[in-house]
Symmetry: C2
Subunit: 510 residues, 2 copies
């Protein structure tokens, strides 16, 4: 039964059921809050990572439980986001969190029992944390627990070799919250511009939509491993300024999402020089800083470290750096932990950031604890170190293998090319779609990449995100896929993608 | 050494140190991001609950650790927010959360040990939760975990006697996140008006500032236990509409914050009728629904329940109801758990809410678990029930005693009157300040109530919030104080407030 949902001017719904139109009788004047009366900026937001594809994937997932007979697959593989799959049983962090939850376990009378269930370093860490936190259940300081911000500062110092001040660090609920807060503060009106990469993670375009500021796109160069040059940046800022846009900030995602590139130190220096000369605030999204798959060729360099290593003329460059507990090898995304560091930010702006953080009271304390554990992993000599090291290494190597395998699979498909992943968790292959497929998409009112991705989902149960959700060079089509499905399922997973692609191309080949 | 911080036009800071003005030499052109270039709406936000008073209280708290000799008190009592004090060692919820953190504890090989540390119902609940959640560390559905939303719906059904749909429930990080999201959606431009009580919780005024919509104040009647009448509401909406404001929504905080009143069923009916007739969406902030201290005289009635009990003409009234894990007897505020229920909301708006929730990916899973436990407390027959019942009853009775004692203390002060608390966690006494004190405040550039509250903080270490942060009838002065300090400290606490007040009045008596 084909049903179409139409909208009347009264915003009640009528179902057009084949030839019988049934209109629901209604004497009421309709809703006060409708998509006509709602905030236009909220309405204009697009957010592809959880858009039409994932919604269909959810429906298919439900159908598998209730009526699987019509589907050609036995599970939906959510390659649109980082799913539970990465979430391995890390011993230390989960154990510390578990002890912090139930401080009774730390009482003397339970010591004998608890020491059989928990390693000594987990117990010691939980004791230190609870001494400094008081209780998980209480509001913390709006910037986050001081003790944890001190530990984050030490982590940054160890990572970069330059000092960090705990007062410059705000703990947040994932990196997204920090990004939203900083972008909101950074923009002033519709003419305020923020440079974002194309392709980009849609958090940036969505946040700019919400605050009604101007996205200023700069293109990453697909033929050069998604690199970017000073010339590209300059062109982009010059064009925007010609249009009257007040370009204030530049977002860099390094390693890249969805593109997986990892910037060289020289490239980072170029970007910093550009920002300094053009008086542009740097927003460095560095949430994938430990997801580095070619560490010798392309190690991770933080923007803060590179900035500090440069000449005195660069030492006032304003920089926000974002990090998260959701990525890396721990992938503790459900906890919503993160932080951002403010470098060379005006003290009066720091006060405004504090004020605006206060409205949400505080980041959740569990997420804060996870930030502490992420930035202070076990070290050699700790009881938990051998297990930690083994788990980290295993995940790291497995992710590297999966990235390589999936890129190989994509590159083997007719008309598909895919850069290898230097970092992050995604591949962003380009697909050359036949004209017939593009026309078929148009007939359905879909973008060609959405049409392809929806076809893949319906045929294989694999949910990827069309490139149009991230932005792509005009006339090109891509999709983003995580390489996170369980490794033992990879052959089957790649096999079904190949089958789908062949059949799609056979259907639509020009 | 008196130091004054001045601001130059270049937004660098100079210190005016007594008679020597030292200007830091600088050849740099100054910061890009300053309070002049930042978003004006963010700048305009005021947020008193964590404003000047709490910032000074934090500084005093630090001073107590480093240089306590000059202070007349040995601890800072944070009566500005709900502090750790309420956070008692609830057995069941903490234990379930601890087990969910560390699923290894649920393995067969640990059963013997774990059953000595955890009650059987905690183990059973953790098993059910983990079965439905998968892992705490993974992103959940952006609306929250389905199983938990189903449990919340059952809780609402038990509470109200009317059905609730899990699809109409969004889990959130505390109630604040939900309120911000709904207000953002509900407003369209500067002419969109939202009615808020005066006094109000500053989340509402701050959020309206941020989205640049018009607050439409209506006054609560202090002489009638902070009640409100249809006439007051009508007057307020009529005046706003005369000025061209498109009044769309009404915020009711019940029980009241900062005012502690609990609305009668008849009063709620009046409000619903008013909203229905005036085509106004209802936002019911019901986070204090279990903080009820006069349950026979003033029981809690949810807006949803009262709405459902009314005639058919009211059955399309749009309502959002907010709840939180931060209040009640559990006070698990650091976990940032909450939910809102959408009643009679346009399906297209529900989709927009889902989209906007997706940008933050999901509410933290720990907070979601706490929502589950809050809405499904142990029941008679559960192993944990006797302990749960004893703890709840003890906190409840103690809060009632503290509320009465503090109101009595305030009412005993010269020129102070204070309504008793029917609900919530606060008292909002009115202080008649002498003219001399008002003049002294003016000379310091402070509001008279801030001047009084700052005096109290410096003298006693007790941090309350001036009434001006919540709004008050012109010419009246108040402050908000929680009644949450530990009961055994109450005599000392009240004693030092009395001493301060006497000395303040002696200093400034006209």
């Amino acid at each position: 039964m084909i049903r179409t949902l139409l909208r009347t001017t009264k915003t009640s719904y009528i179902h057009l059921n084949q030839r019988t139109a049934v209109r629901f009788a209604s004497s009421k004047p309709g809703k006060v809050l409708t998509t006509e009366t709602m905030h236009p900026l909220v309405k204009s937001v697009e957010y592809a990572v959880r858009g039409a594809l994932p919604i269909r994937a959810e429906a298919l997932s439900k159908q598998l439980k209730t009526d699987p007979s019509k589907l050609n697959f036995d599970r939906v593989v959510f390659c649109n986001i980082e799913p539970t799959l990465l979430n391995l049983s890390f011993s230390l962090e989960k154990k510390v969190a578990s002890l912090c939850e139930n401080p009774e376990l730390l009482k003397a009378e339970n010591k004998a029992l608890v020491s059989k269930l928990y390693p000594a370093d987990a117990i010691a860490r939980a004791q230190v944390l609870l001494k400094n936190i008081g209780s998980i259940g209480a509001y913390s300081h709006s910037k986050g627990i001081t003790h944890i911000r001190e530990n984050v500062a030490k982590f940054i110092e160890r990572r970069d070799g330059y000092s960090a001040n705990p007062d410059d660090i705000f703990l947040t609920q994932g990196a997204s919250e920090g990004v939203q807060r900083v972008i909101q503060l950074l923009t002033q009106n519709q003419q305020s511009g923020v440079m974002i990469p194309i392709p980009q993670y849609p958090l940036y375009s969505a946040t700019l939509s919400l605050v009604d500021a101007a996205p200023v796109p700069y293109y990453l160069n697909e033929s050069q491993d998604w690199g970017l040059s000073r010339e590209d940046l300059q062109k982009s800022v010059d064009e925007a300024r010609k249009k009257g846009v007040d370009v204030r900030a530049l977002v860099i995602i390094n390693p890249g999402n969805p593109t997986g590139q990892c910037l060289s130190e020289d490239n980072i220096k170029e970007i910093i020089k550009f920002c300094h000369e053009e008086r542009i605030v740097l927003l460095a999204d560095e949430v994938y800083q430990t997801n580095i798959y070619q560490p010798e060729r392309r190690p991770f360099h933080s923007f803060k470290k590179v900035l500090k290593s440069m000449g005195p003329e660069y030492q006032e460059q304003e920089l926000f750096s974002f990090h998260s507990t959701s990525k890396g090898m721990i992938g503790e995304c459900g906890r919503r932990g993160g932080y951002f560091e403010c470098v060379n930010i005006d003290p009066a702006i720091m006060e405004q950031l504090y004020k605006i953080s206060s409205i949400s009271l505080c980041p959740n304390v569990h997420g804060q604890i996870m930030v502490d554990l992420m930035t202070n992993p076990p070290v050699e000599g700790d009881v938990s170190y051998p297990q930690y090291k083994a788990e980290i290494d295993a995940i790291f190597q497995s992710l590297g293998r999966r990235a390589t395998k999936l890129a190989k699979c994509f590159n083997g498909l007719e008309g598909v090319t895919c850069n290898s992943a230097e970092g992050a968790m995604y591949l962003f292959p380009q697909i050359t779609l036949p004209k017939k497929a593009i026309e078929a998409a148009e007939q359905k009112g879909m973008t060609p990449d959405s049409f392809y991705a929806m076809g893949m989902l319906e045929a294989t149960g694999v949910c990827v995100i069309p490139g149009s959700g991230f932005g792509q060079a005009p006339g090109t089509f891509h999709f983003r896929s995580t390489f996170l499905p369980e490794e033992n399922l990879f052959d089957k997973f790649c096999g079904s993608l190949e089958d789908f692609h062949k059949s799609f191309m056979n259907n639509y080949r020009d």
